[in-house]
């Protein structure tokens, strides 16, 4: 590894770690006000939805695919329906993946 590469990796390691650790470092010393507490409860739903929706509606990253020919959309819908109805994570993932891969296999 060159000196430049070592500097790159060391720098990226430091930056990434500091972003992840800043809040954890404070531990007990940081008590969020009630509004922040309330707001943070929406982070998981908001961020996970924001990751999934573009992946599923534009699988190639550029073109909208709002059709039944979109295996991503079909698989995610099946996952969602099973999750909603049975509230069982593993069953919903398995069901969605079966539909996704079966559909891709059938449509080649």
């Amino acid at each position: 590894m060159s000196g430049r590469e070592v500097a790159l990796i060391a720098g990226m390691t430091a930056v990434t770690f500091l972003v992840r650790y800043a809040f954890f470092a404070l531990g007990d010393r940081l008590a969020f006000p009630p509004l922040a507490h309330r707001a943070l409860r929406y982070v998981p739903v908001a961020v996970l939805t924001a990751i999934i929706v573009p992946m599923v509606l534009l699988p190639d990253g550029t073109h909208w695919q709002l059709t039944w020919h979109n295996a991503w959309l079909l698989g995610a819908l099946v996952t969602g329906v099973i999750a909603w109805r049975f509230n069982h994570l593993l069953a919903s993932i398995t069901g969605g993946m079966l539909v996704f891969f079966f559909y891709r296999w059938v449509t080649g």
Binding site: M1, S2, E5, A7, L8, I9, A10, G11, M12, T13, V15, T16, F17, V19, R20, Y21, A22, F23, F24, A25, G27, D28, L30, L35, A36, H37, R38, A39, L40, Y42, V43, P44, V45, A46, V47, L48, T49, A50, I51, I52, V53, P54, V56, L58, A71, W72, G75, A76, T79, G80, I82, A83, W84, L89, S92, I93, G96, M97, F100, F101
Partner: protein, 237 residues
């Protein structure tokens, strides 16, 4: 780290790793592709492995390769890394109430290993009604699985080089989308949560052209704001 001989702790580690399994599958192609692209982008093979070992942040690693291949200067790459990883600050703020009581020797590695995938399953574990005092062992189990998987996949990519055909067309990434969907959908049972999801989706779609995951951060913030507003409105009425 404390010994894990306690059977409850070992069980939590195990289910943390097990629950992360679909996401290991989803992350695998990215790890392998990162490994195959590293050398052509100008990173050495040991450099690629070191990056997966020490930085451990998929999106930031890919963007760094891109910038490296384009001849970007070091400060530019570091600033970009910071922006791409901003969402992790949101994750650690969300998890803080659960880890605040842990010692630094726990909080340091758990912060180092915090990823999208681990956040997704760990927040679900912390939200579970049981009062297990060992939920951080679940967190650790998810981390170790994701970390080992990411390093091994990078290694496979570096060793095999460009000889893996059509890996990016196999659709393994769908495993991650399915896991996140399975986690999110049951949470949408209240109007504020549903509003938060819709707002986040709309902003994520509208802002998907923004570079460096900025659209994701904006979408998350929009979802949070709408969720809180709807909650306040409901309480006021």
């Amino acid at each position: 780290m404390p010994h894990s001989s306690h059977p409850r702790r070992r069980f939590e580690i195990w289910i943390g790793a097990r629950d992360s399994l679909p996401m290991l599958l989803g992350a695998a192609p990215f790890g392998i592709i990162f490994g195959t692209l590293a050398v052509p982008s100008g990173l050495s093979a040991p450099g690629a492995l070191a990056m997966s070992l020490f930085v451990f942040a998929g999106s930031a690693q890919f963007i760094a390769l891109n910038l490296l291949a384009g001849g970007a200067a070091l400060p530019v790459i570091l600033l970009t890394t910071f922006v791409v990883n901003l969402r992790h600050a949101l994750y650690s703020a969300t998890l803080l109430p659960h880890v605040a009581g842990l010692r630094q020797r726990w909080r340091i590695p758990l912060a180092f290993w915090l990823t999208d995938e681990t956040f997704a399953v760990v927040q679900l574990r912390y939200a579970a009604p049981d009062l297990s005092p060992h939920k951080h062992w679940y967190y650790l189990g998810s981390c170790l699985a994701m970390y080992g998987n990411w390093f091994l996949c990078t290694l496979v990519g570096v060793v095999l080089g460009r000889s893996i055909p059509r890996l990016e067309h196999m659709g393994l990434e769908f495993a991650m989308a399915a896991t996140f969907t399975g986690i999110v959908v049951p949470m949408l049972r209240s109007l504020p949560m549903l509003g938060a999801a819709l707002a986040a989706a709309a902003v994520a779609l509208a802002a998907r052209g923004l570079p460096y995951k900025l659209g994701l951060v904006l979408a998350a913030l929009a979802g949070v704001v709408i969720g809180v507003l709807l909650e306040e409105l409901r309480e006021a009425s």
